[in-house]
Amino acid sequence: MTTDTSTPPAPPRVPPRAPRAPRPGPGALSRLACLAVQPILSRTVRRIAARHPSLFARLGPHQTTDFLIDPVELPFALHLRPDPEALIFRAVPRDAAPRAGAVIRGRFMLLLELVDSEEDGDAAFFSRDLEVSGDTEAVVRLRNALDDVDGSIAEETAAMFGRPGRAILARLRRAYLNDSE
């Protein structure tokens, strides 16, 4: 068989930090949103780490990798460094995002459903709803670590904020399901 290992020439690359559908994200609004959600993120990540310590073992050497999780319709991205000794989970304006080892990009509720294994990551990748770049092994380890968590991280997080938290999550899920149909 006569083949070579090249595909037709690909168009020029886009830097991995550029979001597919950039939000207007004016600096001031984005920074305000980051400030507003940060207490929730800090509390959430501490609780998940305390309740699911086994997930760190599956991360292996990527406990110190910087992940940029980019929910495309939100005015900010999320910076995660899953180091059990120095956990970081913070909202960052896209124009101030750190250089990430791996970037995971998709709609917010898709990302949340992936965390909870309500959606399949490979299927989302096949359909092009999920985009990854950077260190693929880091992304695979994070996916597998989260997939071994029993229960729903989203519901645990919502429950931290009582009835209003659960109501907001239920409403987001309904909207996501309606959009997906």
Partner: protein, 332 residues
Amino acid sequence: MSLAELICPAGTPAALRTAVDAGADAVYCGFQDATNARNFPGLNFTPDELAASVAYAHAKGAKVLLALNTYPPAGKVDLWRQAADTGARLGVDAFIVADMGVADYIARTHPAVRLHLSVQAAASSPEAIRYYCENFGVRRVVLPRILTIPEIRQIRAEIPCEIETFIFGNHGLMVEGRCSLTNYLTGQSTNMDGVCSPASDVDYARHADGSMSSQLAGFTIDCFGPDEKAGYPTICKGRYTAPHRPEGYYAFEEPVSLNLSRLLPELIDAGVHAFKIEGRQRSKSYVRGVVRAFRKAVDDIRAGREANMADLVALTEGQKQTQGAFETKKWR
């Protein structure tokens, strides 16, 4: 009628519990090392996790099959022997093996534990299968995905062991267990290291027009248009240019998944004992959805009802599915 056991994948303990709860008759899994063909980062079981998982499965009436389905490099067989010893100590119900040396060790050392011949052994003739049965006491063969149903029926009549066939999931390169494409590019072996397209060598790049290219070890193996469905970054599913196909074409395989949901009654009638679902690298969501769908289908067929399968195309590679060689040899 055969028992039509449902054999389901698990890459983590949580996935194993999900599979059992969704109706698996047996779950197959592997250790976190080169002894199994899904040696992917962050996947698989520690011995402690396997012990707890065996207990969980057995408590719910399900079996656990341990995949030791890679080939030990010369002089490095101890890892496979230790894995077999650990599996036997933890009470797994069967080993899935490909290598004759591993099969021989288990047959001699743990004769009470069933041996299943992995698809990685690529045993597709009655003579080959009988050889494994007579020499190592193999009780079940997982057939390569290259046979039609009439051929499976004929093989069944000529072998002394059970038959297991894949019914859903990745549709891999023929001849299974002999693929050296990943090794050629990355230096790591699918068959000896258990890694097909190791994630550490995979790179995805998005381009200004919305297209996405996938690379393995620096070689571009596909470029998906902005609205095109994607596949796994494996060389066998890559799209290449050639002098006679300058537009690019799938030289080996296409990004497509096997789905035999419509052929289940015929497979049962042909004497297939067990149905295997591929996908230890997939999520709990995949395991839950696929196992539930096939559990219901098999139960419907057993009860004499027509199986009304859920649509699983969203979970297939490239969102395309095929009945492959099971339907016709002309499938590709």
